[in-house]
């Protein structure tokens, strides 16, 4: 027996036919009780003698919760609900909602099309106002339901009994498995984010930055501080992923607001884990956005670099105005590096990057990483030095106290690549010299390191590394 049917009981034809008449009577009764509202029946299409099991109950419940929150998005109210999970003929939900039958039906079809296991669901919508008239999918401009086995119009496959019950059950089983696998892939995003944080810190040598051999220009932290910080942020990335995964509205700045709320908590967790040291504040902001946007796009199966940039732009479109508007009133000791630089040089830093859809990652870091060769460490060192020369690093500017350092880093990066980069002894020795110079001048490439983290994350999402 297939896993999704495990523990189920066989039904008779008379059970199925009897329960249908019961349901119709129940629905009629609801229509009479709520003559101005819409009655919704949610069931699963499970052909075969076994129609209920633990797995199927959970599928129905997950689906109902999803559908319910979609109705709530549209401000429809739930007036009545009866959930029947244990019936041998299959789990089901009967509900009454406000709204017009047309709108509710459209949402129901939308759910059948978009929910991860939507093709197993059968959502019927009816109303007293609409006696005897059932709106069909085609009447509402949707395609007819497709057969899980052959993808043709399901109606004919059922009527002609085109597929054996074994074929149908195998198709359902693999449909459920695929959906579970998609979930697992998505689940990995939070782990990829933590990996990205750890990859950056172990990459060596890096001018002025913390690695396992040196604390660079950061006397107050070492590689262990970063390990603690990265671990502490895992729940945040899980939350960011969940927000992206579950967001259903059109207004993506709302999704960003949800993310920022959990971001505030993440910052506190980071400071607790590091005894008050800022290790990953920039990454909390940017990596959280990338995780959330990636989850959002993966759910809709529309992930691409272009779509990612568009989604982020929509998420943060109010960010510059919202964040910089009141800066002048803010006490100077509370200002962050990015905020001070905005006031000083009008450089919008990481917020500007976000608002533009992270061109420093998508157009600079990631395409470069894709072309690199050699060991993972060699690829990441080269990518860091390339990013440092091609973007403006707010951390570097802050530490140097002057924007002139931007020309210097361009010169250093050029010299490094001229010596052959990470794959030559000369290149690595040059980086070590540079590290000493950075330590003497108390410089660091913190901003570039953050961008390397983001690049690594997307590299992992895309399978580049």
């Amino acid at each position: 027996m297939y896993g999704y049917l495990e523990g189920g009981i066989k039904v008779e034809l008379s059970d199925v036919l009897g329960i249908r008449e019961w349901r119709q009577n129940y629905q009629n009764n609801l229509e009479n009780q709520f003559p101005k509202n819409v009655v919704v029946s949610v069931k699963l299409n499970i052909p075969g003698e076994v129609k209920n099991s633990q797995v199927l109950k959970k599928i129905l419940l997950d689906g109902w919760m999803e559908l319910k929150s979609q109705f709530e998005e549209q401000n429809e109210q739930l007036l009545f609900l009866r959930l029947i999970l244990d019936r041998i003929t299959g789990p089901e939900a009967l509900a009454v909602l406000t709204g017009t039958i047309m709108e509710i039906k459209k949402q129901a079809i939308n759910f059948e099309e978009s929910f991860k296991l939507g093709r197993l669901f059968d959502v019927d919508v009816m109303s007293k106002d609409d006696k005897g008239y059932q709106l069909s999918r085609t009447q509402l401009g949707f395609e007819p339901r497709k057969c899980l086995v052959c993808n043709n119009n399901a109606k004919y496959c059922v009527k002609e009994q085109k597929h054996s019950i074994e074929e149908v059950q195998m198709a359902i089983s693999s449909y459920i498995k695929k959906s579970e696998q998609r979930e697992e892939i998505k689940f990995d995003l939070s782990q990829m984010a933590v990996s990205a944080l750890l990859y950056e810190v172990v990459t060596t040598p890096k001018p002025g930055l913390v690695d396992p051999a040196s604390s660079g220009s950061h006397q107050d932290m070492d590689v262990f501080t970063f390990i603690e910080s990265a671990q502490a942020l895992h729940p945040y990335f899980v939350a960011a992923q969940k927000i992206g995964n579950e967001f259903l509205g059109d207004n993506l700045s709302q999704m960003f607001n949800e993310l920022r709320r959990v971001g505030v908590i993440a910052e506190k967790r980071m400071y607790l884990a590091t005894n008050g040291i800022n290790t990953h504040k920039g990454a909390i902001f940017s990596l959280g956005i990338l995780v959330c946007a990636t989850a959002y796009l993966q759910k809709n199966e529309t992930f691409s670099r272009k779509e990612l940039a568009n989604t982020i732009i929509k998420m943060v479109r109010n960010l510059l105005e919202d964040d910089f508007q009141y800066l002048k009133q803010k006490p100077s000791e509370q200002l962050s590096a990015g905020e001070i630089q905005y006031l000083k040089y009008k450089k919008t830093g990481i917020r500007g990057e976000a608002v533009a859809g992270y061109p420093a990652v998508l157009k600079v870091g990631l395409p470069f990483l894709q072309k690199t060769t050699g060991s993972l460490n060699q690829r990441l060192v080269d990518t860091l030095m390339y990013i440092a020369a091609n973007v403006s690093d707010s951390n570097l500017i802050k530490r140097a106290g002057t924007v002139e350092v931007v020309d210097e880093i361009k010169k250093w990066s050029k010299a490094y690549f001229k010596k052959g980069g990470s794959k030559t002894v000369a290149g690595i020795n040059y980086l070590k010299e540079l590290d000493q110079l950075f330590i003497q001048r108390n410089l660091s490439l913190g901003g570039s390191a953050d961008l390397l983290i983001l690049t690594v994350f997307l590299g992992k999402v895309e399978g580049i590394i």
């Binding site: 034809l13 036919l17 249908r20 008449e21 119709q24 019927d124 059922v158 009527k159």
Partner: protein, 97 residues
């Protein structure tokens, strides 16, 4: 046998059929609604006619709304409709079941 009262069996759910029987005077008068009427209309009518025949019904108005029901479902719903129409719900004609 003569139909004594109007009776309904079945539902409008997918893969079901709703059959309404009422008294008639002119043989079987079908009114059929089905998305697959073109291919299966005659077959649906034949299945129902056979059931009515088993109960010796000669005249009836038969309204059928088919939602893609399989033959055995149509048969079961037809039997239920007949039994309700003839008021023999408590005494089913087991030999035809």
């Amino acid at each position: 046998m003569e139909i004594k009262k109007t009776a309904i069996a079945g539902t409008l759910e997918s893969s079901d059929v709703q059959i309404m029987l009422s008294a008639g005077t002119n043989g079987f008068e079908f009114e059929l609604e089905s998305d697959v009427a073109k291919q299966f209309g005659d077959q649906i009518k034949e299945t129902i006619s056979n059931v009515l025949g088993m109960y010796d019904i000669k005249d009836a108005k038969i309204k059928v709304v088919d939602k893609g029901a399989l033959d055995l479902v149509i048969k079961a719903r037809a039997i239920a409709a007949v039994q309700r129409a003839l008021d023999i719900v408590d005494a089913p004609k087991w030999e035809v079941l």
